[in-house]
């Protein structure tokens, strides 16, 4: 259950539209079944009143939309940012991907978003309604009695290991700011590191072989902002539309994660959107964990203007051979 209500956000959006601070609002639009919320651009208060929504299924990170949005006009756009979204926001600012002056950012607290797959698993097929009641979601289905499921039990993976309830960028904050959390988000990575090479290979083979190369992970990623991706560029010699050999799937995912290494804020959008449920965040988090362990703690997006580890160095950096050992045996 979110502490900040849909009405509060909608009122704020209407207020800012009406007083001319912004002329459009990036927000969530209600769908068919409560959980299929779509990112949308609102330009009138009427639309906001009838279609704006904020609930436990508003996971989409709007930061990336700002790139295109701020190119359209000279006026300001209102964007609602959950704590984790603010890290992406900062990272994009660091990379000069949008004009800060054209954005009015409203930070909103987040209690964690629900994962619809988990909801379906807990409540059964044919969901017809989901209502937030206290700490529970009450779910109505076509086939069973209404069921109350604790929000905590259906949290998205990324929210279970939330790294921060603190907003690192905003013009205005709704509700109270939280703190950076000492999360255990590297546990899964450590589990893999503790496995043997063979086991790790088998694990990733199983995961990555399901990839259908829909590019959703890349297209949703707020760190993937190249105007033309190497994988779309026929001149790059790696452009490939489909997985035509098991090598290709590894190539794509290694390079995708590498290209955002040091810039990935661990927002978890890649795993959220994967239609094949591949835990892509485990690749990104490995890079984050290694960067922390090799070069000192670094959180992309925590500070606008900070220098990403891969465009930086010290003369005393760890040697690659030692790094591989450290990366694998740190916790073994």
């Amino acid at each position: 259950m979110q502490k900040v209500t849909c009405d509060t956000l909608a009122a704020k959006a209407c207020e800012l539209l009406e007083n001319g601070t912004v002329d459009r609002v990036l927000g969530w639009k209600n769908g068919e079944f409560v959980y299929d919320v779509t990112p949308a651009l609102f330009t009138t208060t009427d639309d906001i009143k009838s279609e704006f929504v904020f609930n436990d299924f508003c996971g989409a990170n709007f930061s990336k939309y700002l790139i295109e949005e701020t190119r359209k006009t000279e006026s300001k756009v209102l964007v609602f940012l959950k704590p984790c979204d603010t890290y992406s926001f900062n990272q994009l600012l660091t990379e000069h991907r949008f004009d800060r002056e054209k954005v009015y950012a409203v930070g909103i607290p987040c209690e964690g978003m629900a994962d619809i797959t988990k909801v379906k698993a807990a409540a059964g097929d044919g969901i017809t309604a989901i209502k937030a009641e206290g700490e529970n979601l009450v779910i109505s289905t076509l086939y069973d009695e209404d069921k109350a499921v604790a929000c905590a039990d259906v949290l998205a993976e990324r929210c279970m290991v939330c790294k921060s309830k603190k907003h690192v960028a905003y013009d205005e904050l709704l509700g109270e700011d939280g703190d950076v959390i000492d999360s255990n988000r590297f546990d899964e990575v450590e589990k893999l590191e503790a496995m043997t090479e063979d086991e790790r290979f088998a694990f990733w083979q199983n995961e990555l072989s399901r990839c259908i190369r829909c590019n959703a992970c890349r297209d949703v990623c707020p760190a993937c902002t190249c105007e033309k991706c190497v994988f779309d560029n026929p001149e790059s010699s790696v452009a490939n539309k489909a997985i035509s050999d098991s090598f290709e799937e590894k190539m794509f995912h290694i390079i995708r994660a590498f290209h955002v290494a040091g810039r990935c804020t661990d927002c978890g959008e890649c795993s959220r959107v994967c239609p094949q449920n591949i835990p892509l965040h485990l690749l990104n988090r490995k890079f984050i964990k290694d960067i922390n362990s090799f070069y000192g703690e670094y959180q992309a997006g925590a500070e606008a203007g900070s220098r990403a580890p891969l465009v930086d160095y010290t003369t005393e950096d760890i040697e690659p051979t030692d790094a591989v050992l450290k990366g694998a045996s740190d916790n073994a």
């Binding site: 068919e32 651009l41 044919g126 399901r210 590019n215 959703a216 779309d232 539309k241 959107v273 094949q276």
Partner: protein, 341 residues
């Protein structure tokens, strides 16, 4: 009509597997997918598999031919491998219908022999739905989830599975299953169909109609102002196209292996920015145009070329998988007007 008890289903599977490769939907932590049947494999009850069964006839990638080159000379090698018999068990009504939609593309002159061969070698055993979910809207396209098409049609009741062979291929396979099935009457199945029909009436999308769309409606919808709003948050990824059982666009690409060139075909997506890109321009430059193309194709262009048949079967995969939850239902409701609510 024949039947076997659910406990004895393995005997049926094992018998089929003697004849040909058998694929059945199987559950895993990551959802349901068709996998080859092996001893002990458990049939999933899920409605949708992650990937649609179009893979069986139109795989995501397939090698079309190979070239060997030496000097100025080229040799073409046809080393296709789509001649193996196989059986797909448990295909839902929507997905069965998708084969007809693909047939109308690949099996019209000049027909696609890769697809045709696979189609010829594959037997489809369908499975009636009994528990449709909120994302199902096959009824919109006059598909009966409770009574699918297929070579053999199956109905699963509490204790038994009923088999009804309807095509020549189906009958031939059914004949081989005589020893593991017994004669049955259809009363239990009929009752179940009726029950499912009752449930279908209660589905949230039960009243969705496609009546506003169809053949020759291009000019009505092409310039609709709604496309802008509908497409504005589209990421331009290929999820909807790749999980869709009826999307059939493809790309033909060459791959240099170092000792030859493989020419392969792979799925492509009209949502991709380079789909229509040529050396000197692109006929669909914006995501709006690409988004419009996909839905116009399903709802207008395809029906125009195919006697009004829509190129959507209402399986609901795109509803479940789209990263931004934009999908054909929202498009139909937005463009189709208020009376489609």
């Amino acid at each position: 009509m024949r039947k076997c008890s659910i406990q004895n289903l393995d005997a049926v599977f094992s018998k089929i597997a003697e004849e040909a490769k058998l694929y059945i939907p199987q559950d895993s932590e990551k959802g349901t997918d068709y996998k080859e049947w092996t001893e002990g494999a458990v049939l999933s009850n899920a409605l949708n598999t992650n990937r649609s069964p179009k893979d069986f006839f139109f795989p995501q990638t397939e090698n079309l031919m190979e070239f060997k080159t030496s000097g100025k000379e080229i040799e073409i090698i046809d080393n296709r491998d789509e001649m193996e018999d196989f059986v797909v068990f448990g295909v839902r009504a929507c997905d069965v219908k998708s084969f007809e939609i693909l047939d109308r593309v690949f099996l019209v002159e000049p027909y696609d022999s890769y697809y045709a061969n696979r189609r010829e070698h594959g037997v489809i055993i369908s499975m009636a739905c009994t528990r449709p979910v909120e994302t199902c809207f096959c009824q919109t396209f006059d598909i009966d989830a409770a009574n699918p098409e297929g070579d053999i049609v199956c109905h699963k009741t509490e204790n038994d599975i009923f088999f009804n062979a309807v095509t020549e291929k189906g009958n031939a396979l059914m004949a081989k299953l005589e020893g593991v099935t017994e004669d049955a009457d259809s009363s239990e199945v009929d009752a179940q169909i009726e029950k499912t029909h009752e449930i279908m009436k209660k589905l949230p999308l039960a009243n969705l109609t496609a009546d506003k769309f169809g053949a020759d409606k291009t000019n009505e919808f092409f310039d609709a102002p709604e496309w802008k709003e509908l497409s504005q948050s589209c990421l331009g990824c290929g999820t909807c196209t790749f999980v869709c059982p009826t999307c059939q666009c493809y790309d033909i690409k060459d791959y240099n292996t170092g000792h030859g060139v493989i020419r392969f075909r792979c799925w492509d997506s009209c949502m991709y920015s380079d789909f229509t890109k040529m050396a000197h321009g692109n006929s669909r430059n914006s995501q709006l145009e690409r988004f419009r193309q996909r839905f116009m194709h399903k709802l207008v262009y395809y029906p125009t070329n195919n006697d009004g048949l829509f190129s959507c079967v209402g399986c609901g995969r795109c509803l479940a998988k789209c990263p931004i939850s934009m999908n054909i239902v929202k498009v139909m409701k937005t463009l189709g007007g208020k009376d489609n609510e």
